[in-house]
Amino acid sequence: MYEKTLTQLAAALKSGEFSSRELTAHYLQRIEKADGKLNSFISVTAEQALKQAEVADNARAAGTAGPLAGIPLALKDIFCTRDVKTSCGSKMLDNFIAPYNATVVEKLNAAGTISLGKTNMDEFAMGSSNENSYYGPVKNPWDLAAVPGGSSGGSAAAVAAGLVPAAMGTDTGGSIRQPAAFCGITGLKPTYGRVSRFGIIAYASSLDQAGPMARSAEDCAHLLGVIAGHDGRDSTSVTRGVPDYVESLNAPLSGLKIGLPKEYFGDGLDPDVEKAVREAVKVYESLGATVREVSLPHTHYAIPAYYVIAPAEASSNLSRYDGVRFGHRCENPTDLTDLYLRSRAEGFGEEVKRRILIGTHTLSEGFFDAYYTKAQKVRRLIRQDFLDAFEDVDVLMGPASPTPAFDLGAKKDPVSMYLQDIYTIAVNLAGIPGISVPAGFSNGRPVGLQILGTHFAEAQLLNVAHQFQQATDWHLQRPAFAEEYA
């Protein structure tokens, strides 16, 4: 069963080929067998999943099941779930159970999907390798010596290994697209405001956005249709209507104008990655698209601007973890300051502390204008770069990451890790949508093609990605791990 895409599974459930209970048990069994090696889950909720599956099967029998009813999924452990721990990959929240569901979770529940559990992630979504988790690093199923990418590394690895058909991730600077690229799956970061952030533990509120990670663009289209839409509990979610993302998947691409940002093909780009991306672009040309070079002149300011804005917001967002009301509290505090200092020193990991320090510094009196205000100006310029480019072309294409997955422990220096996100980070600063699709391999490790569109162009991105996947089979390739261990 695990060989099938989510779309195929939905069809099989509908035709009665197998029940949701059988399907759910099948995946739970695979997790049981394989996840000791991958470490992609923080919590597996087998009992609850089987109960949900039974409800879905009953709904199916009664004729009230929706198209995705009974499909097992996994949730990055950043989505709050009532009655199930939501750790955000941190010791700080190792004991935290939210009394509410994230809106994304509510919508998935309403659609009748099944949650198999909560996936591993970089602590508070801060990281590009999933090595910053309190629950230990996640391995890449294509090569257990490699990282799966981050911060949604658990979701990406679990989908790639066939432990779950699809999973939910979040993306603040590339955290869906980069692990999708590293693990050879399809991952979509929607436009900022397209999906409600309510119940998603905040890292950088003006950049965070949830999206689907699955085997194909078609799978992502099904899932985005479920989770997108306005939410009265999130003021930054937009009221704009949600189109039928599946319906438009098969629109022909003849006449599609593709832009290749020259800044995305410069120094530091792995030659194998570049080759795979240029091959993919040729496929598009064969489908009737035209290609031209474009420029996004402020690209190189994206990482510095991001590492001012995101830590600034994070330093404030993470102030609530003070040991007073929930989360980790130190033993026997002697006074209030001791309670604060030790609870936070013990509860947060290195990278989280680093970003809190950076953010606190950049917001401080005397530094605010030089850092924060300046970074916001840069952010506007970066956004304008994209808007200018979309005057001339329909979509932009380039690599999702400058290299394929690197080895665990290979990037000790935080700045070299930050540079991993060079092609993904500007997209969050601009608020536009982006998708990463499998486009080949480099030494056995997957390469991702990133496709970018203007605000709310998700339907077009999914269409463009789907047509590529109709013409190629990179997305259907499975790591040997999926057969060997599970």
Partner: protein, 484 residues
């Protein structure tokens, strides 16, 4: 040496919304600790604020009432600091783009003169919870019921020059917010709190002196006392060769003094930045016009109208217009009896006295405006005299009768104006008082005026207070003089 005091006020007004500024939890006062705090108020992970539209409308109404510029775009910022009763580790406030821009308020001083106090701006923010330090065995209890309650912080320019002016300004703000119905103005429950900035300088030409900020002064009286103490402290300090340091001080009403809380060096760096969870508030002209159309007549307009159209004195007009409830009661009384001066006298005199004695607000007056208006009408049309009127008032207050007329009939208080009846009573009194009559006859003419009082008293007593005193006086004089 003569010193000039310079005062600016930051007034925090708790807005009377039903729910909190960023959540749906109730704002009612006095509930069990932590029963009115939802996930948003508790700052749980992943929750988000949603702005309460009613709080915005109330802030705008205040802005319109003080003739302020209303910002087309205002922005919420985060003020970051750690404190156990601040659940998120930041307070959502408006630092850089407040909703209400510069405006002004007219204050009336005790001598009836007026002065304009400029408002620098007013901004919306959320209140924190409360730390309770008693009864927790050396630990601190946190009650988050108040966390997220909407506040409007009104910041004045340093335009006040005495504690009296500061108190008058605070009263003016109190009038405006209660007139608008945007706050209950209850200072005892903390619905209005005030930080006072005080400095002194030798002449009004000198630059402003270094100021001290006195935190959380919670009554009109305390504002005056805190300023009086602080001004004296600062002057003494300077005259002794010292200098004032910029600091935050706390007023202790029990000791009647201010104490240092923290100096400028110890002050927090709040690291303000725009809150990314809230969109900028964009207001269009149609919305402002709509709210402007709903504004009630405001205290300053009422005061002016009471003076110019109804002929009240500046003092009466000021006192009555200060409270919307009192002003509306007065207007209702006036509409029944038609005499503004009498209405003002009764409302401020007999009625206010009785309300104060029983600690009642005018909204809970046992006597309605209609009842009081009819009572005054009966005085005006000579149905009863002043003495009987007080008796009728007392009876109505005690619920003995529905209307003044009913009480007058039941108690037989109708004034006797029939000359024949009064003359009969006079004749009887003269007949019963031969000694006093003789004394009157033998007195010097200029002393007789005083002596007539005895006879008036006897006649009034005989009529059980119902005889018209003017008639009694005139007729008595005629009859006594006829005996000379």
């Amino acid at each position: 040496m003569q010193w000039e005091t310079v005062i600016g006020l930051e007034v925090h007004v708790q807005l009377a919304t039903r729910s909190k500024i960023f959540s749906g939890a109730s704002t009612a006062f006095g509930a069990e600790p932590n029963t009115q705090a939802c996930a948003v108020d508790l700052g749980l992970p992943g929750v988000l604020p949603v702005l309460n539209e009613q709080a915005v409308a109330m802030a705008v109404q205040f802005g319109l009432a003080v003739h302020a510029d209303i910002a087309e775009v205002s922005v919420f910022d985060r003020k970051n600091y750690f404190y156990p009763d601040l659940p998120k580790g930041y307070q959502t406030s408006q630092m850089y783009h407040p909703i209400v821009g510069p405006g002004e308020v007219e204050i009336t001083l005790e001598d009836g003169s007026t002065k304009r106090i400029r408002i620098h701006h007013a901004h919306l923010e959320e209140d924190a919870g409360k730390s309770l330090h008693e009864d927790f065995h050396g630990m601190t209890g946190i009650d988050l019921n108040r966390a997220g309650t909407p506040l409007l912080e009104i910041v004045s320019e340093p335009d006040m020059r005495s504690s009296k002016e500061a108190a008058a300004y605070l009263k003016a703000i109190h009038s405006i917010v209660t007139y608008l119905g945007i706050s209950d103005g209850n200072m005892a429950e903390g619905s209005m709190r005030c930080d006072v900035n005080v400095s002194v300088r030798r002449t009004s030409q000198d630059p402003l002196g270094t100021r001290a900020e006195i935190k959380n002064v919670n009554s009109f009286r305390f504002v005056e006392r805190a300023i009086a103490f602080e001004v004296e402290r600062q002057i003494e300090l300077i005259e002794d060769g010292g200098s004032v340091v910029q600091e935050t001080r706390l007023f202790d009403p029990d000791r009647d003094e201010t104490r240092s809380m923290r100096t400028k060096e110890e002050a927090n760096d709040y690291r303000y930045f725009p809150c990314p969870d809230l969109l900028p508030v964009v207001l269009d002209q149609a919305y402002l016009d709509h709210l402007r159309g709903q504004l009630p007549e405001l205290p300053a307009d009422k005061r002016e109208r009471f003076q110019n159209e109804l002929g009240l004195s500046a003092y009466d007009a000021n006192v009555i217009s200060a409270s919307r409830d009192m002003a509306e009661f007065f207007e209702a009384v006036h509409s029944v009896c038609g005499d503004a001066k009498q209405s003002a006298n009764w409302v401020q005199g007999e009625l206010s006295g009785a309300l104060n004695r029983e600690n009642l607000s005018i909204a809970n007056s046992p006597i309605s405006a209609r009842q009081l208006g009819e009572l005054i009408s009966r005085v005006l049309d000579d149905t009863i005299n002043g003495k009987a009127a007080k008796e009728v008032f007392q009876a109505l207050w005690n619920g003995q009768g529905e209307s003044a007329d009913e009480v007058i009939d039941a108690k037989g208080l109708k004034q006797v104006t029939d000359t024949g009846a009064i003359e009969a009573m006079i004749d009887q009194v003269i007949a019963d008082s031969p000694a006093q009559v003789a004394q009157y006859r033998d007195s010097e003419p200029e002393k007789r005026g005083k002596m007539i009082g005895y006879f008036v008293g006897q006649v009034m007593k005989a009529s059980r207070g119902t005889a018209n005193p003017q008639q009694v006086n005139g007729l008595l004089k005629e009859k006594l003089d006829a005996l000379l």
